[in-house]
Structures are given as C-alpha cells and as structure tokens.
C-alpha cells in the first residue's frame, strides 16, 4: 500500500531584478517518488539542490508550481482548508536548526501542551490528565526525562536535547510521516547518531514513514538502510535505487563525485580505486537550459551531454546519465 505519493513536483521561484526584468529559478524540476507505509527514503544532495524545498512542499508549508502530493490518495495542496490542516498535521517537518525550531519564550511544557490541547479537543472526552500523560509519553519516547525537562526553557538544553524535544513535539499530533530535513547536521557529532537512532526506532515502534533529507551519505545509510535513496542535483533526481545498491555501485557521475568526496579514515578504510574530485563550483548563473545539468562540472562529459537532457532511466536502479557506468569510488572498510 502506498502512502505518500509525489508526482511531477515542480517549483519555480520568481525574483524581481528590477521593475521590468524578472528571473526564474527552478528549484524543483519534475520530481516523483513514493514512500510506502512505515517506509523510509533519503534525499541526498548539496545545499541549494532543492531538497529542502521538496521537504517543505511535502510538509505543506510551501505550494508547488505544478504537480501533486498525495497522502493516502488525497492531494494535500488542493484539499479544502479544514482538510488541509488535518493532512498537514499528519506530515510533520523536523527542521535542520533545533535552535530556531523552539520558541525561546516558552518552556518545553508549554511547547508540548499547545498541540496536545488541540489533539484533546479533537479526541473529545479526554481530560487534562490525558495531556499530562501524553506529554510524559512522547518525551520518554524520545529518550528524555519529563521531570527533568518540562520546566526548562529551550536555551537551557543542548542541541541534541532540543532536537529530541522537536521530535517529541511532532509526535504529539500523531503523524504518519516525518520529514527530517538535515535533522542532525547542527548537532554535535557525538550526539548525532543518537538522534538518528531515535528516528530509526520511531519508524519501527510507531510505524511512521520517514523522508530523510541530508548531505551525509553515511547518515542516510544508517537511517534508510532498508529504503531507497534519491540523489538530487539542481532540483532533479539524477539517480535512485535501493540504498546499498546506489552507495556501492553508483552509475551517475554526480553520485560518484559525492561518494568520492566522503573523507576516508586512514587505517580503517581504503579509498575507492576510481575516486575523483570535481574542481568547479556549483553555480546558478550561466545555466544553459539545454543538455545535462551536470555536464559543465562532469569530468566525463561529451559534446552529446551538452546537447540533450538525459531522462531518468532504468528499472529499480535508475540513473539520469547518457553513459551510466559503474565506478569504484566508495571507500571500503578494512577488516
């Protein structure tokens, strides 16, 4: 059973240069994917590739220029306002920055009580005690001690604790999908894995689907091992497939460049034999609309690549490259 289905998503931002001229930036160009019930998929890409915009559209915080986001078959952007609010509740976004995601003027108790009061109203016939119980329940689900944390203000917590509170707050409204946008990149390294572990557990315990947006390939491997990864470049999917298939045998040069860029731990790992570096910077200007979007940076590009845009092709492992070719770029663990 398919739960979240995204079809042909497009988002164009228009910026006014001056009174007469305007410029269009295509943040998302034709992206389609599905997340099965309780499943996980990861979006991998550099900052500015459009992955955050996709997450925000899925969470209902932004409207797509074109395309649909279906939750159990209902289009969340074309539902009536009441239905829409209900659908938005079921898809919760965990933002990158836990320092901005909590209101500095509210204690953790207030932050959790607000959405719970709303839920209590929907449920009808539940008492104030239910709110208190739920509060303790969601906090222990994320591994925090309610008695030690409820009365605190956000600035008294570490980054890891804040992100746990943010996740607990999302759980108060009993969502079906969590969109985790770079959810661990601003947390101290030693605490990152703990939060990833928590998201993994929530999937198993509560059957919540996870859309994990990240630049960290290894993190996507930890959280989305049994799911799929989508590699995004300039708002397009350039490669998709089962997580381990893509990481161990990437066929698109961009995916290969990303995997080459992962640092190799001396003595523990050996670099892939065909590891390569991309020298040029990602830029938005001077973007020709013709040909492969990665051609200008691709070390393997031919004249043909600059002429036609390759479609996303393949069966279960898809790649948007005219010359898909598997290269040994991924580091290998030594025994």
């Amino acid at each position: 059973m398919t739960m979240l289905e995204v079809k042909n998503l497009k988002r164009t931002f228009t910026t006014k240069d001056n009174m007469f001229g305007r410029r269009e930036v295509k943040a998302v160009r034709d992206v389609s994917f599905t997340i099965p019930d309780g499943g996980v998929i990861s979006f991998i890409g550099e900052s500015g590739c459009g992955k955050t915009t996709i997450g925000r559209i899925v969470a209902g915080l932004e409207t797509p220029t074109d395309g649909t986001v279906l939750l159990d078959g209902i289009d969340i952007h074309r539902a009536n306002p009441k239905e829409r609010r209900e659908l938005m509740r079921q898809i919760q976004l965990i933002q990158q920055d836990p320092y901005q995601a909590l209101n500095p003027a509210h204690t953790i108790e207030e932050a959790l009580a607000q959405p719970l009061r709303l839920m209590a109203k929907r449920k009808a016939g539940v008492s104030n005690a239910w709110i208190q119980d739920r509060m303790a329940e969601v906090l222990s689900l994320v591994g925090l001690d309610p008695a030690a944390i409820l009365y605190k203000y956000p600035h008294m917590l570490s980054g890891g604790q804040r992100q746990r509170v943010v996740i607990a707050r999302a759980l108060t409204v009993e969502p079906k999908v969590l969109v985790a946008d770079e959810a661990v990149s601003m947390i101290d390294v030693s605490l990152r894995l703990g939060v990833l572990h928590l998201l993994r557990n929530l999937r198993e315990k509560l059957n919540i689907s996870v859309l994990f947006i990240t630049h960290d390939v290894a993190a996507s491997r930890y959280l989305g091992r049994d799911g799929k990864v989508f590699v995004i470049y300039k708002g397009m999917i350039v490669e998709e497939g089962a997580t381990d298939t893509v990481i161990n045998g990437p066929t698109h040069p961009y995916t290969q460049a990303l995997l080459s860029a992962v640092p190799v731990l001396k003595g523990l790992e050996v670099p892939g034999s065909q590891r390569f570096y991309v020298e040029k910077e990602l830029s938005q200007d001077g973007l020709s609309e013709e040909g492969c979007l990665f051609a200008s940076r691709c070390p393997f590009a031919t004249a043909e690549c600059r002429r036609q845009l390759p479609p996303l092709a393949g069966d279960s492992h898809k790649s948007a490259c005219l010359y898909p070719y598997e290269r040994q770029v991924t580091a290998r663990m030594l025994d």
Partner: protein
C-alpha cells in the same frame, strides 16, 4: 633570536606547556583549556578534534596569543619555532609573528574578510601592516597562489567578498594565510560550512600545498572524517583537556581513551556493517562537569571506576609518541 629558542628541538614547530585558558563570567572563571602540553611537529598535519566547547579553537587562539575577551590565558608558555615564547613577546612582535610565522584560516573565511574592500586592496593592506617593501611582488605572489588554488586570480583580486562563493572565499582565506610565507598554517573549521564537493577539493588543495611548501599544518575540526583523511597526527580534546594524542592511523585503529573509542564508533560509515555504529551515551560537558574533581569524561564513560570520580587522570605517554589521559587505559576489552 633568544635563549629560549634552544628549549624546543628542531622537530617541533610549536611547543605548548602547561597552558590554561579561562573565560571570565559573573559566576567565576570557567576553564576553557586545562593543563595542555602539546608538541606540534614540523612538516606534519596535526588534526585537533573535539566538539563545540571542547576548547580546540581556544587552544589555537592561545597559540597565537590572541584569545579574545572575556577569555584570558591564565598560565603556560607557547614556544613558536623561530619566534620564541608568544606570551613574552611585545605586542608588536606578536603581531608580526601572526601571518609571517603563523597563518590562520578562519571558518568559511567570510568573517575575516573586509566586506567593503576589494580582495586585492586587502592583500596590500596586509603587506603594509607587515612592512613589506615590495608590494608589487606581494600582489604577484597572491596572484600565483590564487591560481594555484584553482581560481581566476584577476577576477578574485578585483572582487568584493560577497561576489565570491563559499568555496572561493575559503581558498582566498588560505591565500591570505600563506601570502606572507607563514610556516605554520592553522585551519579553524575551514571546511565546515562548505558543500561536500567543495570540501573535498579544498582538503585536496590543503594536502598538496602542505607538501609543496613544506608547511606545518594544524587542522581544527569536529569531523573525524576530515582528520582521518588528512592528518598525520591527531589530538583529541574533551572539555578543555587533551584526552588522547598520537599517529592518526594508530588512534583510529586502536583508540585507547574511551571518549575516542566512543566517538569513532558513533560515526556512521559508507562501508562495512552500518550497525556497528553505536551512539555515545550521556550529555556534553556543562558548568557542573568542570566543578567536580574527577575525570571530565567519567559520567559518560562505560569504564568509569571509583578512582575516576576522585581525581583527574594526567596525560601520559603509553607508547612512543602516544599520549592518553585515562586511569583505565589498559583495562578495556
């Protein structure tokens, strides 16, 4: 230059002894760097790894004797090869030493560039403030360096900071650190704000320049991957103390301090069994951590024994060139 020079041997570029840095707050002094003894070896890449608040940045600012208020170097000496003890030099001598001996590359470099002056002008400003006679030659040197870093030198020199991308700015920062022929280059989280592909190419450039110019490079980061990929030696800091130090390969393959071990285990990798990654337990050090007399890591440590709560383990040499600060260094499985 002076007698103290003889104190450090020819292999050492910077020698830190008994360094203590405190931050003055209304609730009293908070130790940011505690009893640090460290030799930075000439011609090597030394990685200093630690989380936010571990004191790694404060340590290198102290190396340049440039700790900002409310921080203060409480005690200790910092011998820089060819310069002397930074703590005893005059302000003017210290200023000269920065850039000509010690070059610092800040995080993403955007804060170290003047947003209102072209890059070329800033090169000239730097030259003038260091009394460079031949400014034309300096500019030529900057140009060569920028080209070596893979940038369009003419465009960059006439550009303002905001016209450059993050990766370009970082390269410009490296140029500024090297243009006065600094022998010791310090990169403070220099790749943290960059994209993966830019990070990889900046690291590659750092590696190449290090070899070409025979530099001594200090890399400060919270990313074990960056250190593991690039550094010859690694220094692990926790709550202002060095807990482990040694050759990168050895530290990574057989970490001896429980924190190092936990940290390496807590990083998911792209190869091998992903389920071997285990989160580090406990919470990061806070005000109360510093107040107790025992080992700073004791409350998160799986091996903590009663003695660990009583006193702080000193940093001892357990093998040649390998230092660990742990009472139970021989007790792990």
């Amino acid at each position: 230059m002076n007698a103290e020079l003889q104190l450090i041997d020819a292999q050492t570029a910077v020698q830190v002894r008994g360094l203590n840095v405190v931050y003055e707050t209304t609730q009293g002094d908070i130790p940011a760097v505690q009893n640090v003894n460290l030799d930075i070896r000439k011609g090597q890449i030394t990685g200093i790894i630690g989380e936010s608040g571990s004191g790694k940045s404060t340590l290198v600012m102290a190396m340049m004797n440039a700790v900002a208020k409310p921080g203060r170097v409480a005690s200790g000496s910092i011998e820089v090869s060819g310069v002397g003890d930074m703590m005893k030099l005059s302000t003017e001598q210290q200023r000269r030493a920065r850039s000509t001996e010690l070059g610092l590359v800040f995080q993403a470099a955007q804060n170290s560039l003047n947003p209102l002056r072209r890059i070329g002008h800033q090169v000239l400003d730097l030259g003038r403030s260091h009394g460079v006679k031949d400014l034309r030659a300096l500019l030529r040197k900057a140009k060569d360096l920028l080209e070596r870093l893979g940038l369009d030198a003419d465009r960059v020199l006439t550009a303002y900071q905001h016209e450059l991308s993050g990766g370009m700015r970082q390269r410009v920062g490296i140029m500024f650190a090297l243009v006065l022929d600094a022998k010791v280059v310090i990169l403070d989280e220099a790749t943290t704000a960059l994209d993966m592909l830019s990070q990889a190419s900046v690291l590659q450039i750092v590696r190449e320049l290090h070899e070409e110019r025979g530099l001594t490079t200090i890399l400060i980061t919270h990313d074990m991957g960056v250190v593991g990929d690039l550094a010859d030696r690694v220094v692990v800091m926790y709550a202002g103390c060095i807990v482990e130090e040694g050759v990168t390969q050895e530290v990574l393959t057989s970490p001896k301090h429980p924190y190092t071990r936990g940290l390496i285990r807590a990083i998911p990798r792209i190869s091998g069994d992903i389920d071997k990654a285990v989160p580090l337990s406990g919470s990061p050090p806070d005000m109360n951590t510093y107040k107790q007399p025992g080992c700073l890591f004791a409350d998160r440590c799986p091996l903590a024994a009663p003695e660990c709560q009583q006193s702080r383990p000193p940093l001892l040499e357990v093998e040649t060139g390998r230092h660990v600060a742990c009472f139970r260094v021989n007790d792990h499985a």
